[in-house]
């Protein structure tokens, strides 16, 4: 089993949370995993990217044209990071407008569910998981969110994930 995933967003959108959850999910499945993240200056609203490599990899970076999956927290990042995806990769985008990708309007969904804007990240993950887009199934991800999210965000995080899942159905 090998799967390479990129998570692209803007600093503060919660790309790191998704990275961590996917890494934990891989570990729970007994799969080796290595990720890379953006920290520091770029986290102040700049363009950020995380990479998750599931399988027997040594290095944390995904080469151009090799990623199997893309999760985009903002549609404008497509222009910046799409080159990492291989032909035929599945792309999930938090976007109000449809395009040549699978989109979910996570921001509006968050508002409709009374969730903060930052919950869009878990809505997108729920959506991608619901579409069978990532190596881990929805049940496992729910388990990971419940186990790894600090108490005060847990309930909202689970609701966000479920909202994304429902949108994928």
């Amino acid at each position: 089993m090998k799967q390479q995933i990129i998570v692209s967003g803007l600093g503060g959108q919660g790309a790191l949370t998704l990275t961590r959850l996917l890494a934990e999910a891989a570990a729970a499945l007994g799969l080796p995993v290595i990720t890379s993240e953006t920290h520091g200056m770029a986290q102040r609203g700049g363009t950020v990217i995380s990479m998750i490599k599931v399988g027997p990899f040594r290095g944390p970076l995904i080469p151009a044209g090799e990623a199997d999956r893309g999760l985009f927290l903002h549609p404008k990042n497509l222009a910046v990071h799409r080159f990492y995806l291989r032909d035929g990769a599945a792309v999930f985008v938090n976007a109000a407008l449809p395009g040549d990708y699978r989109s979910v309007d996570a921001r509006s969904l968050a508002a409709a569910h009374g969730l903060p804007a930052v919950a869009a990240n878990l809505i997108l993950l729920g959506y991608a998981a619901g579409q069978g887009g990532v190596f881990a199934g929805p049940d496992l991800l729910v388990e990971m969110i419940a186990a790894k999210t600090p108490e005060r965000f847990r309930e909202a995080s689970l609701r966000a994930f479920q909202a994304g899942l429902a949108a994928a159905a």
């Binding site: 290595i34 890379s36 993240e37 200056m41 986290q43 102040r44 363009t47 990899f57 080469p63």
Partner: protein, 617 residues
């Protein structure tokens, strides 16, 4: 001295490289860890604190005021026979270089591991210098991990080596190790019962020049021995003879990425492939083997040619020959064409990165933005030296003209004043900005110097009560230590007064008109006959402090029909909550990002931005 176990924790965990390093520090029985935060090293110390608490291991940890202080504190613990760790980013070692260089000669007693995180790229640093080079310069052995897992193991290995040869040992991870996450086996911390025991030895611990020469000879002997230690010799993944006379030598995360490519190309096990885990001193037999067994040699390392230089062989292809680019990070996309050339493989066609993306900016409602806007408005023709931190982003607002190294903004302000005052004519208003943590780190000596020498400039200390850029480590003023205990707080105004500054005011830059008036009176002080350095403390908590954010009023913001689309609020103020609505040419406020600070009201020349003081509905 043997191990007593405490709580038994034996499992795999997903750890970030820096967490793995922190875990390694605790598991190896380190009793004192000191650090100053800086990307990509920041999370190491806090992780060590977390794991020490979790396992009940004994650990004193501190955020020191700077890296030099951190190094010296850790060094003394080691001189008492106890294991010690100091961690920092690569440019932090520049600050700690003085004690670091001498520690190589004088050596240590208890193991001392010096974790220095490099930032090839660079992603978040003012240089992409290679700390392995610094280790070589200092004659200190250095280990180069290729993954979080290795990073953790190398902490213990470094400490053992350090104790065996009584000298400090460096572990040099890079950003891609520090900020990678991986499943890492976690073990039980060893407990070394070693009460402090400092053996006085003035010929060593206060070595005067007569003794230094002898110590230098001793250091050379140690290094010769270390270059022969088999555990640290490069690891060979042997080829099957398909590439006779050729070898690839790599270290750090570049080894990992090279290995992934070789595997994907089906070449792992077909060409001789070495991982160098200790780039300095490079294993003696290995150097001999390379020079005699191979005639086609590729070296892949970040960021400077440290292994290459020690191989001292003109046949080596790498950073020096130019086959490997001489600057920049060695990502898989950079390594691939190097391998293609070296192994004569067909080129892989890849999409080129289009570049672009959003530049980072100060957060919505950040008080630094208000301060910078005030400075720029008060002195449109001013010169603005600044410093290292979130507030470096003030350059987007035209209120940061220099960013050099920690504390430099204050000394540069003094130098700018001298340069302009030399002719005896008018000098421009010079406003230096520095963050609270940076002021503690390196600003104090610079301020003493500027005050004493009668430089005339305004110093704005941006006091947001935290080290925001690197993840909110407390400053000495905040009163909490790295382990969450109460320190004895040191207050910035007291320090400023003690430095002799004749003008000191505190203000909240949110009240922009008052802040601008204050800056003007500071300028008048600088220019008065008895004037000198005027210090303004711009005080407002960082908004990522959720409590502070909740405690301040949140106005219900609006934009009226009066907006002319002049874009002053976007171009000169750049709050990320404001953007242009292309459909009607007016500015809109993004409710999701706006924190309702109300500062932008003062920015719009048309009075089109309104704040409902009743607060949000």
């Amino acid at each position: 001295m043997q191990t007593k176990t405490s709580i038994n924790i034996d499992n795999q965990r997903i750890l970030m490289g820096n967490e793995a390093l922190g875990r390694g520090i605790v598991e190896a029985g380190v009793t004192l860890a000191a650090s100053y935060p800086g990307t990509p090293a920041s999370e190491i110390l806090a992780s060590a604190v977390t794991y020490a608490k979790e396992t009940g291991a004994e650990l004193y940890a501190e955020w020191s005021v700077n890296e030099k202080v951190a190094f010296e504190v850790a060094l003394a613990n080691s001189m008492c026979g106890r294991r010690s760790a100091v961690s920092m980013k690569q440019v932090g070692l520049n600050v700690a270089s003085d004690p670091f260089m001498r520690a190589a000669y004088l050596g240590v007693k208890g193991g001392l591991v010096v974790v220095v995180a490099d930032d090839p790229g660079p992603h978040s640093s003012q240089t992409e210098q290679d700390s392995r080079f610094f280790a070589m310069f200092a004659k200190v052995p250095v280990l180069d991990p290729s993954s979080p897992r290795e990073a953790k193991d190398m902490v213990a290995q470094a400490l053992e080596l350090s104790e065996r040869f009584e000298l400090p040992v460096m572990v040099r991870p890079t950003t891609r190790v520090c900020h990678a996450r991986q499943n890492v086996p976690c073990g039980t911390p060893v407990r070394l019962d070693r009460p402090a025991k400092f053996d006085k030895d003035p010929r060593r611990w206060c070595a005067t020049p007569v003794f230094v020469l002898e110590l230098h000879r001793g250091l050379n002997d140690k290094l010769d021995k270390i270059a022969g230690v088999p555990e640290f010799a490069p690891q060979l993944t042997a080829g099957d003879g398909s590439y006779p006379g050729a070898c690839i030598i790599a270290s750090g995360v570049a080894y990992a990425h090279t290995g992934d490519w070789l595997e994907e190309l089906g070449l792992l096990g077909r060409v001789d492939f070495y991982q160098v885990t200790m780039p300095y001193p490079l294993n003696r037999d290995f150097i001999h083997t390379v020079q005699t067994r191979y005639d086609k040699i590729l070296v892949i390392e970040e960021t400077y040619p440290v292994i290459e230089l020690q191989l001292a062989d003109a046949r080596v292809q790498g950073r020096t020959s130019g086959l490997v680019p001489r600057a920049g990070e060695l990502t898989p996309d950079v390594i691939r064409p190097v391998l293609e050339t070296f192994l004569e493989l067909p080129a892989r066609v890849v999409p080129a990165p289009p570049g672009g993306g959003d530049r980072p900016t100060l957060c919505a409602g950040c008080a630094h933005r208000a301060a910078f806007y005030g400075i720029k408005t008060a002195f449109p023709a001013g010169i603005f030296p600044s410093d290292i931190g979130c507030y470096t982003l003030g350059l987007n607002l035209g209120a940061v003209d220099t960013c050099h190294c920690m504390g430099a903004g204050i000394s540069q302000a003094a130098g700018f004043y001298r340069a302009y005052a030399a002719g005896g004519g008018e000098f421009p208003t010079i406003v230096a900005t520095i963050g609270d943590s940076t002021f503690f780190h390196a600003g104090v000596p610079a301020l003493v110097n500027a005050v004493f020498h009668r430089a005339r400039f305004i110093l704005v200390i941006l006091d947001n009560a935290t080290t925001a850029m690197t993840g909110h480590q407390p400053t000495p003023q905040v009163g909490f230590t790295a382990t969450g205990e109460h320190g004895h707080p040191v207050f910035i105004p007291d320090l400023v007064r003690a430095c002799g500054a004749g003008f000191l005011r505190e203000a909240d830059p949110y009240d922009l008109p008052a802040f601008i008036d204050l800056l003007k009176s500071a300028d008048a002080y600088c220019r008065s006959p008895e004037g000198g350095v005027a210090v303004v403390i711009a005080k407002h908590p960082c908004l990522l402090d959720k409590e502070a954010c909740k405690a301040q009023p949140a106005y219900d913001m609006g934009i009226t029909e009066d907006c002319t689309g002049c874009l002053q609020c976007l171009e000169d103020f750049e709050c990320p909550a404001l953007s242009l609505d292309e459909t009607d040419g007016r500015v809109v406020i993004d409710e999701g990002r706006c924190v309702g600070c109300g500062v932008c009201v003062h920015v719009c020349p048309e009075g089109a931005i309104t704040a409902n003081t009743e607060g949000r509905p």
